[in-house]
């Protein structure tokens, strides 16, 4: 890995870390200057993150989807991009205190887990446009799921503050529990068709690469599990009106399965072929 890549990568990590702290400060102080700085730092981080990926693509000569480092950096990019988009759309900067740290955790995961950042040639069966489409869509689907997860956490905090009639600044500053619940749902609604598309493009790729669109490979199975959990979320919400606690709990379980599909399958499960 070249020095330039290191520089850009750690700039992004530092920015996301700084932004997480700034957003937290903003959440607890309500100082709008802090909030604006947090947004600025996040934007700089996203630019550095984009440049990291761009440079990697240039050096490796293929989309940055060949190892855990590249995936994590791409997924963090997706989360932060969606976050900034939502911040501009909904104007609730406090969400940053819950969502930007998820992006930080992902991008920093390679260092935390000691994963190599080296450029690696793509295995023959990974050289496919379907796989590129698969990962690009996954970045947005998982980004939206990460967001709904952050909102579900916020929901639990807000709800307990309201129940205890807290008069603290945190309670005042967090959006209403109802809005958090509804937004969390909106993000899942956005992510679910994308997630379906992730599974379908993955199946098309597998059909070309292995001649089987579905082989119950652990990665495939776990993405199916994730899909079933979110499907349960949507149905319970629509037909039984599951909102609030139950919905937030399912959103958190759903994101846990996302993370497991991503990290756990490669690192914990006794599978055969785990393509990062």
């Amino acid at each position: 890995m070249s020095n330039n890549e290191y520089l850009l990568f750690y700039t992004a990590v530092a920015c996301y870390a700084g932004a997480s702290i700034l957003y937290l400060g903003y959440l607890l102080s309500r100082n709008s200057l802090l909030g604006d700085i947090a947004t600025g730092v996040t934007i700089v981080g996203l630019i550095a993150n984009t440049a990291t990926l761009g440079l990697r693509m240039y050096i490796a000569g293929h989309a940055p989807f060949s190892n855990m480092y590249e995936y994590s950096t791409s997924f963090a990019w997706g989360i932060i991009l969606i976050y900034l988009f939502a911040e501009f759309k909904y104007k609730y900067k406090v969400m940053g205190a819950f969502v930007v740290p998820v992006g930080l955790l992902l991008i920093a995961s390679t260092d935390m887990l000691g994963i190599s950042k080296e450029t690696r040639p793509l295995m023959p069966d990974l050289q496919s446009n379907w796989l590129t489409a698969h990962v690009v869509v996954a970045i947005f689907a998982y980004g939206a799921y990460a967001f709904s997860f952050g909102l579900a956490i916020m929901y639990f905090i807000k709800d307990s503050l309201v129940k205890s009639r807290s008069r603290g600044i945190l309670n005042e500053h967090l959006p209403s529990a109802e809005l958090l619940d509804e937004l969390s749902y909106r993000f899942i609604v956005f992510a679910f068709p994308l997630m379906s598309l992730v599974i379908i493009t993955g199946a098309i790729w597998a059909e070309f690469a292995w001649g089987r669109y579905w082989s119950w490979d652990p990665k495939e199975t776990w993405s199916l599990i994730t899909w079933l959990v979110y499907s349960a979320y949507l149905h319970a919400r629509l037909t039984y009106g599951w909102k609030g606690h139950k919905a937030a709990a399912l959103a958190i379980i759903g994101f846990a399965t996302v993370l497991f599909t991503y990290f756990g399958v490669n690192m914990v499960l006794p599978g055969l072929h785990s393509y990062a």
């Binding site: 040639p121 793509l122 023959p124 069966d125 050289q127 496919s128 509804e182 937004l183 909106r186 609604v189 956005f190 679910f192 068709p193 379906s196 598309l197 379908i200 199946a203 098309i204 790729w205 059909e207 070309f208 690469a209 292995w210 001649g211 089987r212 669109y213 579905w214 119950w216 652990p218 199975t221 776990w222 199916l224 599990i225 079933l228 959990v229 499907s231 349960a232 149905h235 319970a236 629509l238 037909t239 039984y240 009106g241 399958v265 499960l269 006794p270 599978g271 055969l272």
Partner: protein
């Protein structure tokens, strides 16, 4: 009042069927969302358990084929049945929802809605009605108007086809499942390794079923090789294949990973590759004319101008004439080739020969030499007639989801009354999904009244 209840209860009334007879009971059981959620949960848990099994380190086989088991498939089948019954049950409601919205509503009904507003204004009623109509139409709503007694009721809705979305999605799931089943019972899956020059007969491969002899053909491996990237790692595997039918070459294709050959519904995937010994076989005919061909261990070639086929059946790097099948070592001290000579189906000769030594027979002589390393190719062979159905189902699923998740049915009503120069407007709105979207529409319409 029941229509109003429908509107309030999001048109979802799953336990509607409360017949006493057994058929109705079964139908009710299968239309229950409780069963649906239970199945989603159970299937998730079972699938998780499946991924925790350790594959055998040698064969890669799992100790138990969970996903192929009858009970797992049964659960998936139950899920299909469940959502099918659910969807059929809801068909009436869906068609009702796609018709005209309920127009005549009461003030009491509007007051119960989450989006409710009371506006009083001195402007006369008909002007305000126009404003309402226009701002609703501008937001893409269909507008219906009914005068009742001294009131004007305006009912508006948009996105009514959104209710079709979940129906389409559910059907797509059934289509995908059927496609998978059809693929399982109407196809086959097998694998072979073959060296350059070898001809493989499809119908005689193991595990080939559902394949009619008229469709049968042979695959000739013309070439197999691999390419390397800048750092010396393999970057891709290639095989050049020719389809032969009734002794005719039908077509040829260079396949690589991610790019299979398809013929008569059978697909050939580049799956693996391994090293194999290749030799140059020289044939000298009775006139002394020489021709050379490359032949790999396990491969076969035709001797030109004759009805003879030479098979390179085994390579022995260190040949011991006293124990020909057992190499003395792995070192190429005395390399020899076990060849076979076939005339049609009959084997006429089989023997070891050391390199560069002529083997004579009535049409001339052959010799083997110039050893080098080549590759055998490993191909997965699969016939799955269900694949197009599965892709169709996938496409329909995405379509259905886009419709149901982004095309939400929203309804807004306004009751306008005028008395003593004061116009009163009571407005209410309802949606099953995207409350924020409805709220935006609703507020925009309310604002247009105040402007």
């Amino acid at each position: 009042m029941t229509r109003e209840k429908d509107d309030l209860e999001l048109d979802i009334d799953l336990e509607e069927n409360t017949g006493k007879d057994i058929v109705a009971e079964v139908w009710k059981f299968f239309s229950s969302m409780k069963l649906g959620l239970f199945l989603l949960l159970i299937i998730s848990v079972a699938s998780i358990a499946g991924t925790l099994m350790k594959p055998d380190p040698q064969t890669g086989e799992l100790p138990y084929n969970l996903y192929g088991s009858y009970w797992y498939r049964g659960l998936l089948g139950l899920l299909c049945l469940n959502l099918l019954v659910c969807s059929l049950n809801r068909w009436k409601l869906i068609t009702k929802a796609m018709g005209e919205p309920r127009i005549v509503v009461s003030e009491n009904f509007l007051k119960k809605l989450k989006n409710y507003t009371l506006v009083k204004d001195k402007t006369d009623a008909s002007t305000l009605e126009e404003v309402l109509k226009e701002s609703l139409a501008a937001k893409g709503y269909r507008v219906f108007i009914e005068e009742k007694n001294d009131k004007t009721i305006i009912a508006a809705d948009k996105g009514r086809f959104g209710v079709l979305g979940s129906f389409i999605t559910h059907i797509s799931f059934v289509i995908i499942t059927l496609g998978t089943i059809y693929g399982n019972i109407g196809g086959f899956e097998t694998y072979f390794n073959a060296a350059q020059g070898q001809v493989v007969d499809i119908i005689s491969l193991p595990d080939v079923q559902n394949f009619s002899p008229e469709d049968n053909f042979q695959i000739r491996i013309d070439k197999a090789w691999q390419e390397y990237g800048a750092n010396g790692q393999v970057s891709d595997y290639f095989s050049e294949l020719t389809v032969m039918q009734n002794g005719q070459e039908v077509k040829s294709k260079k396949i690589e990973v991610n790019d299979p050959l398809v013929h008569n519904g059978v697909k050939f995937y580049q799956s693996s590759m391994g090293p194999v010994v290749e030799a140059t076989m020289k044939y000298t005919d009775k006139e002394g004319k020489e021709t050379s061909q490359v032949i790999a261990e396990g491969g076969a070639v035709n001797i030109p101008g004759t009805d003879l086929t030479v098979v390179f059946s085994r390579f022995n790097p260190d040949y011991d004439p006293n124990n020909p099948m057992q190499p003395r070592s792995n070192q190429p001290n005395n390399p020899a080739v076990l060849y076979e000579l076939h005339r049609g189906q009959v084997m006429v000769d089989r023997n070891f020969t050391i390199l560069e030594k002529d083997v004579k027979f009535e049409q001339g002589s052959i010799s083997f030499g110039n050893l080098q390393q080549g590759y055998f190719t490993g191909l997965s062979v699969r016939k799955d007639p269900g694949v197009p159905i599965v892709w169709l189902g996938c496409g329909i699923m995405i379509l259905g989801m886009l419709i149901s998740l982004f095309w939400q049915h929203r309804k807004i009503w306004a009751i306008v009354t005028e008395s003593k120069g004061l116009t009163t407007i009571e407005m209410g709105g309802i949606t099953e999904k995207n409350k924020l979207g409805l709220e935006n529409d609703f507020n925009a319409v309310v604002d247009s009244l105040k402007a």
